[in-house]
Symmetry: C2
Subunit: 191 residues, 2 copies
């Protein structure tokens, strides 16, 4: 065995994209625009799937930017949302971003979460989920978004997590199509 460590690195371009100073996006469209920019860069640099996600605090300050790095890391878990959640928790030093419902954090994702990322949301402690493209937009280029319950929005809201859909959906879906046109890997298992 000898395997007792997991270590993953984001693409080199990410630190330059995010920059040195604080990133503050006051509107939800600005926040989505920023993470869509991350997904676009991921596609154009050829570093992963056409998905980006970010965690922002209640002032619109970026805590973490995640992009899909499944193929580069050989890890099916590392969807953009998972990367963003894990990085934010690492930055804040706690597994419950809400710190016992004292703080509000938002997960902004360029495409509605797949079944796995949907299930990751309640554990993370975010209180708001903002989505760009629809799950059907991802399915239309071949991704199997998995067995997510039909009432997934209600299921999150029942747990106190607000869901906002279709923010810059067209911009986000354009990146999905660009990835498909470039022949990007559709990394469903068993293909």
């Amino acid at each position: 065995m000898g395997m007792s460590e997991l270590r993953f690195t984001l693409p080199d371009w990410v630190s330059g994209f995010v920059g040195e100073g604080e990133v503050v996006c006051s509107s939800v469209e600005e926040r989505m625009g920023f993470v869509v920019g991350g997904s676009r860069e991921n596609v154009r640099q050829g570093t992963g799937g056409p998905f980006g996600a970010g965690v922002f605090d209640s002032n619109g300050k970026l805590i973490s930017l995640g992009v899909n790095i499944v193929e580069a890391t050989n890890c099916s878990i590392l969807h953009a949302e998972i990367v963003a959640i894990a990085l934010a928790q690492q930055a804040l030093g706690r597994y419950d971003l809400s710190d016992g419902r004292k703080e509000d954090y938002e997960l902004v994702t360029t495409t509605e979460p797949c079944a796995m990322c949907f299930g990751a949301v309640p554990w993370s402690g975010v209180s708001r989920l903002v989505c760009g493209a629809r799950g059907e937009d991802a399915r239309s280029i071949g991704f199997d978004e998995g067995p997510k319950p039909a009432n997934w929005v209600e299921a999150l809201e029942q747990r106190g997590i607000t869901v906002v859909q279709d923010v810059l959906r067209d911009e986000a879906a354009t990146i999905l199509r660009e990835y498909a046109e470039r022949g990007g890997t559709i990394y469903n298992a068993g293909r």
Copy 2:
């Protein structure tokens, strides 16, 4: 920001528990017994939640052992199944364990997967899921297992993944109760 790396380490006891040589468990009960042993050690050493999981090949050879390390790593993603899947993919050097349906791998988990880990299974490329305790056993000590579809077994089987339930359920559930009795953290967000 300055955050471009995710790095997680398993508890120190894991390498000694697994040992130097190959671990081969020919029956499903042996495989479950091994991962239940991992969950027990995680509880007794105080290194994480009462959950273990392993990926085994079609000869019963252990590829990876995962345990829950949510609290120690401050990462809500690192359930036992996620750790086991990521380590197995790292060991084999591919995100699709099945390698395009050429290979059969089994994920053995001491408790039925939560909503997140359930969603992670189809992406991983395993062809069989073996479960010990039931989700209700985890809920009975306070864990919110999340909004998993009621027909989750059928949803996996429709994707070609066989599901086996209740293997050493009592042994696995005993570890859950031991964790609760020791006052182990119930790491639902927002508590």
